[in-house]
């Protein structure tokens, strides 16, 4: 209630800035256009991974002629907004940028990323197909080098499982049965929650079930959010929510943190980076958690999805594409780079040669020595998935449509929410002029 009373000055000013903004944080990169071969090249690098400045120190020491400056970002979404603003303004973008896989089509569509297939195309063999596909979008171009991947994993409280005499769920049927038993034994306890706030989580679950929400066929996009595979996932979670054996509150709230810590939430369908989050949210329960492969739809042919993960890209404004590509290749494929990523930045590298760096389990699960072999297995069975150019629209539609469904606790509302998502995403693409079918 204490806003300025000049109508909308804030919003309008923000709109103005969309064209005039020039962050000024990357003067170094744009100022040194005519660099002689012998001269030192300055690169700026936008990233939000922790301790990335320390990782980059290793590069700077070994490569005195290419100096990289890390510019710490708040996170994936704000960094993309900033980058798109700089691209529209014509200056102010960094040379190198961390980009989440699902944002790459949006960035490519805005002409924000450079094609580095000539400089780094040879790295294909170093990455699993699903990660490589995410940075090529299935084309001949290359819009970045995969950095980390986020294969989904399941975490559960071993003490609760032991007390009730139940087994680690191998299939989603097992998971539902376990959820029922846990909730029956203690009406306050849940094996998980359906989070309408985390579209990336639901996308990963759908990926595991075999969905790929977007697709490219020649020069035409297709949208398949409301396909049979995703419907299966929506119906499954809708049923559990209606039954009341799974909670319907969003993740990443103070409420959810408290629930993990006080033993109300005793399981989490998450990703390889889960232990880091649990370390902060559920510190009172350290030593009682275990990581497992995701429950399966068909135990005979295991599959998985991703939640999270990003690539390192060169922006279209960079004047030093070759040097930038060289740095990116070092960061994500050189043993020294990978080692630094794992130990300093706590990421799970996408590179297939990362096992040497992944020796001791994350500190929250220090007893589980097989953590990284489960993670490797999870990554290996990840299904391909294509992101579209309007992931943001689909994701915000997920928030609204599934928020309503989760609140109503009616199973029938879940597939209906999926239909809304499909409809919103498709009409947005048609309206913008994309060639699209589906």
């Amino acid at each position: 209630m204490k806003k300025t009373f000049l109508p909308l000055a804030g919003v309008l000013t923000a709109a103005l800035m969309m064209t005039t903004a020039c962050s000024g944080s990357s003067d170094k990169s744009t100022g040194t256009s005519a660099t002689k071969a012998a001269e030192k090249v300055e690169l700026t690098y936008w990233t939000w991974a922790p301790n990335m400045d320390k990782v980059v120190e290793g590069w700077n020491t070994a490569h005195p002629d290419i100096h990289v400056t890390v510019n710490k970002q708040d996170g994936g979404d704000p960094a993309v907004t900033k980058l798109l603003t700089a691209i529209k303004a014509g200056s102010g973008a960094p040379d190198v940028m961390q980009a989440e896989y699902q944002k790459i089509p949006t960035l490519v569509s805005a002409n924000a990323l450079a094609d580095i297939s000539k400089e780094a195309g040879g790295l294909k063999a170093k990455f699993p197909d699903s990660a490589w596909n995410a940075v090529t979008l299935g084309s001949a171009a290359l819009y970045g080098v995969p950095q980390d991947s986020g294969p989904m994993m399941f975490y559960y409280r071993t003490d609760v499982f032991q007390k009730l005499g139940i087994q680690e769920p191998k299939t989603w049927d097992d998971y539902a049965a376990d959820a029922r038993k846990i909730h029956a034994a203690n009406a306050k306890q849940y094996l998980g929650t359906f989070s309408a706030n985390d579209p990336g989580w639901f996308a990963g679950l759908s990926q595991q079930a075999g969905a790929s929400w977007w697709g490219i066929n020649g020069d035409t996009w297709s949208v398949a959010i409301n396909d049979a595979n995703t419907q299966k996932v929506a119906n499954y979670w809708g049923g559990l929510v209606q039954e009341g054996v799974i909670d319907n509150k969003p993740m990443y709230t103070p409420e959810w943190n408290a629930a993990l810590n006080d033993g109300t939430q005793v399981g989490w369908v998450s990703s390889v980076w889960g232990p880091g989050v649990l370390e902060g949210s559920a510190k009172n329960t350290k030593g009682k958690w275990k990581a497992a492969l995701m429950p399966q739809w068909d135990a005979a042919s295991p599959a998985n999805g991703n939640w999270g993960g990003s690539a390192t890209s060169v922006t279209s404004q960079s004047k030093h594409k070759a040097e930038a590509a060289q740095f990116i290749a070092w960061l994500n494929t050189d043993p020294a780079g990978i080692q630094a990523l794992v130990t300093q930045a706590n990421v799970y590298p996408a590179s297939v040669d990362s096992s040497a760096a992944l020796t001791s389990p994350p500190s929250f699960l220090s007893d589980q020595t097989d953590f990284y072999s489960i993670a490797a297995e999870s990554a290996k069975i990840t299904k391909p998935f294509t992101y579209g150019p309007n992931v943001n629209v689909a994701y915000s539609s997920y928030n609204d449509a599934f928020g309503k469904a989760a609140q109503s606790k009616k199973a029938a509302d879940f597939p209906a929410a999926l239909a809304t998502m499909q409809q919103t995403t498709l009409s947005d693409m048609k309206n913008t002029g994309f060639k699209v079918s589906g």
């Binding site: 209630m1 204490k2 806003k3 909308l8 569509s109 409420e255 994309f434």
Partner: protein, 318 residues
């Protein structure tokens, strides 16, 4: 809180004597800073928004290659899309209902407290005045986080106390309560400011008016109702217009509470829809159209209301 007591008197500060203009250009020179800032930060952005609202991006094919994106004239299609968006009307209705709760409650409380403080004139008054005003100094985002913690059952001390007393508290972020939960934050944050505005207006009333009334046998309530409230009516109208505008622009509170529950959508208020379109959907054009619509509605409502009651209220002083 010395700045507060200085607030009303500043209007009465005697004007600095004019030194007599030497050049005809002098007034413009003095006006220039204000004018330049006005043009740069208000007029230009508004005009630019209007321009943007008439544009749109057109993509060809897959939209991936170079130059597959063009900005073209859109006519009024952004306005049509924005006004026919199925989420737009519900968000307007919601803000209307929200305003019906917030404005009367907040101004009623502010007036009541101002009258009580003015009637009491005790030492407790200074403390109460500061205490009531203090929430206004808390940024809306911080206030929303603070209340958010109080609303969430598992982390809320209120829930703890009520449960111990054997009462089952309602889920304040559920569909049936969330509007009141958001309104409560606004009332909590806004009452103090409005109270101070009304209180300073009350303090400006010459005391002989009350003394005369008291000699005639008027009670405190009669004095309040027949003398004080009519005299502070212009201030009341001003606070009403400010509250109305703030209501139309409600944003920070629902935006901060949104991730805590399923009940607040990304288009819960019109301004949230603007934010979603501009920064989540990356479509500044339709966001600009919606903001122009909101700005017009704000303008029409505020000035319409002033025309309706303003003249009558302000003329009383003559």
């Amino acid at each position: 809180m010395t700045t507060l007591t200085a607030f009303p008197t500043s209007a009465r500060t005697p004007r600095v004597e004019s030194r007599g203009g030497r050049k005809a250009g002098a007034p413009y020179l003095f006006l220039a800073p204000a004018l330049i800032l006005f043009v740069l930060f208000l007029l230009a952005p508004i005009l630019y928004s209007v321009y943007l609202s008439l544009r749109r991006v057109k993509v060809s094919g897959l939209g991936l290659g170079l130059g597959s994106r063009h900005e073209v004239w859109a006519g009024f299609s952004n306005y049509v899309r924005s006004l026919t968006d199925p989420d737009f009307l519900p968000s307007v209705e919601r803000v209307f209902a929200y305003g019906m709760i917030v404005v009367p409650t907040m101004l009623g409380l502010a007036l009541l407290m101002a009258l009580l403080l003015d009637a009491g004139r005790t030492r407790v008054g200074t403390f109460s005045r500061t205490a009531i005003f203090l929430p206004y100094a808390v940024p809306a985002v911080v206030a929303s986080l603070l209340w958010g913690f109080l609303y969430l059952p598992r982390v809320s001390p209120i829930t703890d106390v009520l449960t111990h007393l054997g009462i089952t508290p309602p889920d304040l972020l559920s569909d049936s309560w969330v509007l009141y939960a958001v309104a409560n934050i606004a009332v909590w944050g806004g009452t103090g400011f409005n109270m101070i505005v009304l209180y300073t207006a009350l303090r400006a009333i010459p005391t002989d008016l009350f003394e005369a009334a008291r000699l005639d046998g008027a009670s405190d309530i009669q004095i309040a109702w027949r003398i004080k409230i009519p005299i502070v009516l212009p201030s009341l109208i001003m606070t009403f217009v400010f509250s109305l505008i703030a209501t139309l622009q409600v944003f920070a509170e629902p935006m901060t509470l949104r991730p805590l529950s399923n009940t607040i959508s990304t288009t819960w208020t019109p301004l949230m829809k603007v934010y979603r379109d501009a920064f989540t959907r990356n479509d500044v054009y339709s966001a600009a159209a919606t903001s122009v619509v909101i700005a017009l509605a704000t303008f029409v409502l505020s000035f319409g209301f002033l025309r309706l009651v303003g003249n009558r209220a302000f003329n009383q002083e003559d």
